[in-house]
Symmetry: D2
Subunit: 138 residues, 4 copies
C-alpha cells in the first residue's frame, strides 16, 4: 500500500534561482511523514510526541535530486514502507509533479522514547498498521 | 470582504517549548498572502514574480502575539484589506483556532518592479480586485 | 549601553529576488537575542531554557523594513534596552550594513516560566544586568 | 587538505525535543559549502551566483545521523573533496562537537549555468583550487 500526500512549492521554499532550496524539501518530507503517521498509522504527531512521548527521528537518508521544482509547482509525495525493524523502518519516498520526478529518497526512521532518549520497539498499534502497508521493493 | 485560508502547525514550526517559533508564523503569513493574491486578486505568485516581474515585499509589520499555538493546531488566517495606496496596501491579519486568537498583525505591502527594484503603482487588474475587497477598519 | 552582534546574509536567507526573505530576518533577530542573553545578561539560552526553565517569547513586534539586504551582506545588529517591566522588556533593534540601515524594530519580550506557561518576574541576576544596560529612548 | 568551519546550534535549529531538527542541519551544511567556496575555492557565493551566474546545486546526498545535537552545542563541520568530475564533485562531510560525531554525509554538487539551467564544466579557477584540496578516501 502506497501513501500519498500533496504539497505546493511556496515562496518560502525557493532560492535565488527560483527553485526549491533543498533543505526545504526536508521540511516538506517531514510534513509528509506527519501525514503518514496520522492517516496511515493512526497516530498524529501531537498525540505521539506530547501524550505518548514517542519521536520518530530520521537516522539515515539517501536522496537523489532528479529535477528542480519551481515556485507554484504542485507536488505529490509518495511514501512506501520497504522494511520494518524492531525499532526502525525504511521508507521509499518520491516527489513528483507534472509527470516529472523531482527527487527520490530512502529514509530510515527510528522509534524513540523521547524522555529516555533511546530507541524502543514500535508500539503494537503502530507496527500493525505499518505491516499492513508494507510494500517490499520490487 | 474578508479572505480566509487555513494552515496547520507542523513539527517544523515548533520550538523547544513545543509552541510555534515566531519566525515560522511569518512563513505561514507569507503563504496566506500567496493564497490571497492567487484567489482574491487573481494573480498567483509564480505568474506575478516570473512572468509579470512584480513582487509584493512587506515594508511594515505590527504584530501582537496573543496566545501560543501548539503542534497540530489547525489555524484560520483572516486577511482584510484596510487601505489601498498608489503603490502599497495595508492588511489586517488574524490567526485563530479553537475560538482563540493567536496573533493579530498589520502588514503593509508594496508593489515592486523586481527588475528595477523600485515601487510601482498597482497594476489595474490587481487594484480593481483589491478595491472590491476593501474593508475599512470599523 | 548598546549591544552589538554580527551576522551574514546566507543563501538560506534569500528569496527568488535574491534579497532576504523577511521571516529569515526574525531568525537572525532571535539569534541576536540569544547573543544578548549570553553576553550581556550572562545567561545563555541553553542554561536559561534547559536548566532554569525560563523562556523569553516575543509578544509584540513593530518592524520597518527600510532597505533590502542581498546575499553576502555583512550586517551589524544593534540592541538597546528601552524599558524594563516586572516581567517584560522592550528592545530597540536595528540591522545595518555598509552604512545603510536595513530594518529597525521594537521588540517586546516576556519572561516566562516554561513549565507553568505563564509570565514571571525577571530573575534578579537578569534584571540587574538589564538595568545596567538600559538606554531610554532619546 | 581538509576544510573546517564552525557553527552553533541556535534556538531556530531545535525541535520540540530540544535537539536539531534535521532539515536545519542542511541549512548549516549549505552555509559550510558557502564558506568552502569563499575560503577554499576563492569564489564567494554572491560573486558566483550574481556575477558569474554559476550555482552549485546538490544532486545527491547520503547522510547518517549518528547522535543528536542540542541547543548551544558548538559544532565543527569538516569538508573533504573526495572526487572531482568534469561538472561535479563529491564531498565527505562530518559534523562533530565535544568529541562526538553528530552526522556524516556524502554530498554531490554539480556546477550549473544558472541562466541555461544546465550543468557546465567547472571553471578553471575553481577546478584548480579544488584539485589542490583533493583528499581521496582512505
Amino acid at each position: 500500500m502506497t501513501f500519498e500526500t500533496r504539497t505546493e512549492v511556496r515562496f518560502a521554499h525557493v532560492d535565488a534561482a527560483g527553485i526549491v532550496f533543498y533543505p526545504r524539501y526536508f521540511e516538506m518530507l517531514n510534513a509528509a511523514v506527519e501525514d503518514w503517521c496520522a492517516q496511515a498509522l493512526g497516530v498524529d504527531f501531537r498525540t505521539m510526541h506530547v501524550e505518548r512521548r514517542i519521536g520518530v527521528p530520521t537516522v539515515k537518508l539517501h536522496v537523489d535530486f532528479l529535477s528542480p521544482s519551481a515556485l507554484g509547482d504542485r507536488l505529490t509525495i509518495t511514501l512506501r514502507t520497504r522494511e520494518i525493524g524492531r525499532a526502525s523502518c525504511r521508507l521509499a519516498v518520491s516527489f513528483a509533479g507534472d509527470g516529472r520526478e523531482r527527487l527520490k529518497a530512502e529514509v530510515t526512521l527510528v522509534c524513540m522514547d523521547i524522555d529516555a532518549q533511546r530507541a524502543i520497539p514500535w508500539p503494537d498499534d503502530m507496527r500493525a498498521r505499518m505491516v499492513e502497508g508494507l510494500v517490499p521493493a520490487e
